[in-house]
Subunit: 326 residues, 2 copies
DNA sequence: TCGCATTATTGACTTTTGTCAGCATCAGTG
DNA sequence: CACTGATGCTGACAAAAGTCAATAATGCGA
């Protein structure tokens, strides 16, 4: 894609400022334009990803607890967000860490799967701007028919926009009213093809959902609170890409899952870099289920959550590596 | 390598400033430290490569002339430095473009060969700071015994320092007084081993030397002006990594070359990304020789030089791709 | 071609950042 | 234990960058 004529001047300004280290007034002089415009250009250059500013996220992975967690659970890398008073509030910090790590994990030409949820949306919201043409961001699960603040397509679109990547949305509902219709829709060539490309992803980003009344599926009306309770009694322990998983991270054979249009769990497990981000303390059990199910190779959690995972993992005598991990 | 305790605070400051977008005074407040210190930390963070600021060099490759040059000569990519009045002085611009392109071409874990000369030294001098641990920078040719402003080892070391990469120097002179000694030294295990690793490089950076009286080899005393003249008469057309090449880019069988300790030309040609940077207008013939010899896959030149190359290449009826190109 | 709406540019002002001399701290040394 | 040189921190000031309302330019439909 050639540079648009109007971008040329922005590019030049950014180059002189960031590469040559000229001051804004010097750049303004050189390009025969006001300094105020240069300031505006530079802002745009950053927003367009012409200029990229990255900070190593090593601060969060260089940690004894992170090493221990990796060793115990077989994760490739863990990032630990501290909760001490000197640090940021974890609720604000976690998405920033996640966005930074996510960006670091992307390689040229990658295909990236993005799921949905409050956490993912917040990550999209603080995602730095970059120029990653050649990268493709695909939606991992169907859309929620009802309007909702954190729609799956919004997550995908926003991330793709910020990265200057291609965003591929999924034009199917997440849940249908009958199993038959879901089945038929999954068989539709457009949908089928898109689902088939998911296992080609090199990187996936998601959180794990809870099965409480405040879970997304309930709040979005995909499931009633009663249904969710019942599913919980029958072994459901968490939600991955809109689908219920049991405590071992296995697909639950229930009406809801059968009515879902979303990435096949094995396709997700086939993705090499599976980045799982968990914010809320009350998602401990769902997180354990996701870990047991092999849904994470890269994990971002708070210090306290990391401790709880370590303790439980060791208590259960689970060895290195989760079942189903690639 | 774990973060040094003292770096931790720098890292934190950089994180809060660049990732969370806090102002310096807010960071100062959070870390309970003066704002002036934060300013100092941030500078250090940039110099240490904790924070990296990159600008796309597309401005120079997105150019009709660049496309034509690539198509005609079979280069992978060409970057053209403009000479119009609105742009920077090419003498100042070229090294900045080269440094930026060089950084873009590096991939994780790469081994990089760096030669020597005024151009390479200037590139090293404007190389941005980055955190590329795992990358290795190796010296392509022996050192100049005589003290000189742009010593081969300085180029390697400075680039490695700025990139936070490992620098491997070559502790042998570039030229020895007798062929026999050069031969013996090349046979020494330490030297031999190092020379052997050169073809494992994924990226090389060099310029091409001229054979005029002001050439490096003459100015450093490796060759007398008379010898150089004589070599010129006998077909030498340029210098690559301290060694003379003829107009077709082939190794010249002369006393000087036989007394040289430097990367084997075929080893250099075996490197996938061969980045050639030519500043001076009077290096046209050496550049042509280097191109014919397949010493460039990535080229950085001025507009006028690009035009001359195009014209000559077409006139000579050289097809796509240089002989010897990988 | 005109008028309208939208976008781009700028000068003047405010806020933020960079700098540096002076003070505090600390490790090494006689 | 005092001395010394080096390093690091800070407050106050200077420099640079950010912002915004007013103005100019531009595109576009009628």
């Amino acid at each position: 894609m050639p540079i648009r004529a109007t971008d040329q001047i922005i590019h030049k300004a950014a180059w002189l400022y960031y590469n040559h280290g000229l001051r804004q007034d010097e750049v303004a002089q050189k390009l025969e334009i006001s300094r105020a415009s240069i300031a505006a250009y530079l802002r745009r250059a950053r927003e367009m990803g012409i200029v990229t500013i990255t900070t190593s996220s090593e601060l969060f992975s260089d940690d004894v607890l992170a090493r221990e967690l990796e060793d115990a659970t077989g994760l490739t890398t863990a990032w630990i967000v501290p909760e001490d008073r000197q640090a940021m509030d974890p609720a604000a910090e976690m998405p920033v860490v996640a966005a930074s790590v996510f960006l670091e994990l992307i390689e040229k030409g990658d295909r990236i799967g993005v799921a949905w949820g409050r956490t993912v949306y917040h990550i999209a919201d603080v995602m730095p701007f970059a120029d990653l043409r050649g990268v493709t961001v695909v939606q991992l699960c169907g859309n929620l028919g009802a309007p909702y603040s954190y729609r799956p397509d919004q997550c995908t679109t926003e991330i793709a926009r910020r990265l200057n990547a291609e965003g591929i949305n999924f034009y199917a509902p997440l849940v249908l009213s009958t199993e038959r219709l879901a089945e038929e829709l999954r068989g539709e060539p457009v949908i089928k093809e898109q689902l088939a490309t998911i296992s080609d992803c090199q990187l996936a980003l998601y959180s794990v959902g809870g099965i409480e009344d405040d879970s997304h599926l309930v709040k979005c009306g995909a499931l009633s609170a009663e249904d969710m309770h019942a599913l919980g009694k029958n072994g459901a322990a968490g939600v991955i890409a809109g689908q219920l998983i049991d405590r071992d991270g296995q697909w639950v054979d229930c009406a809801h899952n059968r009515r879902c249009i979303s990435a096949d769990l094995d396709s997700i497990r086939a993705i090499k870099k599976r980045m799982l981000v968990v914010q809320e303390d009350n998602k401990f059990e769902p997180l354990m289920a996701a870990l047991r199910g092999g849904f994470a190779s890269h994990l971002i959690v708070t210090t306290s959550m990391a401790r709880r995972v370590m303790e439980r993992w060791n208590r259960e005598g689970l060895g290195k590596g989760a079942p189903g991990a690639a």
